[in-house]
């Protein structure tokens, strides 16, 4: 398969990239690792007039801790998250999740931010970012704005990012105090997209939940933040009845469709079971994070 013809630019500075997008953003696609975009180009589902390859922009591949956040640069690849000592220590749920993404070869090229901007509702990072209350930093030639993950995803493959903007980094607030998380995914074979997956992150104040994040993968038009389920946890101990109620609310928030991976009813029940398992795992794993 060969993509339709396109112009190609590989700017060497962010300013140059933004100026290209200012002029031609409407018919351009930004490419980082290309692991989502190139398959779309080859299938000709996407036929942009211009591909702007940001893969050569300097200094954007770091994952580092700064001012109470973990900052993930736009060019940090899945494998960088997989091998990050900072993430393993501060947000181990992310490292658990990344093992489920595609396969080692794709993870050597694909980027965390690129995957999020691709906004496939079956993508794993979207749910992780919703559960962690991440923010995306978007730059254009007219300035910078910060977009919360829960107002980023609009529909399948559609986000609130403007055509002249580039996501330059992801900021994830560090948990304070005791925290734990988990990522559960059901897939038919290794490297497949999720039938269903659930990201859970919980912060504790003593035995009670101080803050909870739950993100759902592949059960709707976007990754879904299970807000009602999160609210039902705050202020409570993670006893069985509290967990069961949150799991029920999360399943109610899911809007899956029947497809060759399973029926809608089955997927909703997997959400319920994975939220239960996820919360129990988060509780069992909870540890002090020194922010």
């Amino acid at each position: 398969m060969v993509p339709a013809a396109f112009d190609y630019r590989a700017p060497s500075t962010l300013e140059e990239a933004l100026s290209i997008l200012k002029q031609r953003g409407d018919d351009a696609k930004v490419m980082a690792g290309g692991q989502s975009l190139i398959p779309l180009l080859k299938l000709r589902f996407s036929q942009p007039a211009l591909v702007v390859d940001i893969g050569r922009l300097p200094g954007m591949a770091d994952i580092k801790r700064e001012n109470g956040h973990v900052r993930i640069g736009a060019l940090a690849r899945h494998v960088d998250a997989e091998q990050s000592k900072e993430l393993a220590k501060l947000l181990p749920m992310m490292v658990e999740a990344v093992h489920w993404i595609a396969d080692p070869l794709v993870r050597n090229r694909g980027t965390v931010a690129g995957s999020i901007c691709h906004a496939d509702p079956s993508g794993d990072w979207g749910s992780v970012m919703l559960a962690l209350d991440a923010e995306l930093v978007a730059r254009s030639s007219s300035g910078e704005r910060v977009i919360r993950a829960d107002s980023f995803f609009q529909g399948p493959f559609t986000t609130t990012l403007r055509p002249d903007e580039i996501v330059t980094e992801i900021r994830i607030p560090l948990p304070s105090g005791r925290a734990g998380g988990s990522y559960h995914k059901l897939e038919r074979k290794v490297g497949d997209f999720a039938t269903v997956a659930v990201a859970v992150q919980v912060e504790f104040d003593g035995h009670k939940v101080k803050k909870a994040g739950i993100g759902l993968t592949a059960v709707g038009a976007t990754n879904i933040k299970a807000t009602q389920a999160e609210k039902a946890l705050v202020g409570h101990e993670l006893k069985d009845d509290v967990i069961a109620e949150a799991a029920r609310l999360a399943a109610a928030a899911a809007e899956p469709k029947d497809d060759n991976r399973g029926t809608a009813a089955y997927k909703k029940d997997v959400v319920r079971v994975f939220v239960q398992r996820g919360l129990k795992a988060a509780l069992a794993r909870a540890q002090e994070v020194k922010a």
């Binding site: 080692p104 050597n108 090229r109």
Partner: protein
């Protein structure tokens, strides 16, 4: 547009349309047909090459993205006519039947051994999880990588022993 990269240690440049995939550039422009096209959807790994030493799928990479970087294909594994340990491993352990997946499997195996000279079977299976074999099954492929690991560590041990004499 012009693209220049090092392929198996030699600088190669050519003119390509931006839409040309690396695998097609290698096979058609450079006549390096050891890199195979399997699924053409970045699922099977038959098109695996090493990009700056890391295995990637060349069907999901534009040739122009590789500007200034280093590619190794299966043709670049053997050193001066002698089979590399990973090739000996696949030969000795019958790590192939039809051979279609073999270039990718060997490159992934060789890259793993660079990073981790003594992998467990599980680590090998994890490393090859992006590469599909449709005839031997994976048992002999894992054995082939283990064979290469033993050869490599044996050589290192011999070199160390030789050095102390």
């Amino acid at each position: 547009m012009k693209v220049t990269m090092r392929v198996n240690g030699t600088e190669r440049s050519g003119n390509v349309e931006p839409r040309v995939l690396l695998v097609d550039y290698l096979r058609s422009n450079l006549a390096l047909t050891g890199t195979h096209v399997g699924c053409d959807t970045s699922s099977c790994g038959a098109c695996t090459v090493l990009l700056d030493g890391e295995p990637v799928k060349s069907c999901t990479l534009l040739a122009v993205q590789v500007e200034g970087r280093e590619i190794k294909t299966v043709e670049g594994i053997a050193q001066g006519g002698a089979l590399a340990p990973i090739q000996v491993g696949f030969h000795e352990e019958h790590g192939l039947q039809c051979g279609f997946c073999t270039p990718g499997m060997m490159l992934v195996g060789a890259a793993l051994l660079e990073r981790n000279p003594n992998p467990t079977d599980d680590e090998i299976r994890w490393a090859i999880s992006g590469n599909i074999c449709r005839c031997t099954g994976y048992v002999n492929i894992v054995k082939a990588v283990q064979h290469a690991a033993k050869l490599t560590s044996g050589k290192e041990a011999a070199a160390v022993a030789g050095g102390t004499e």
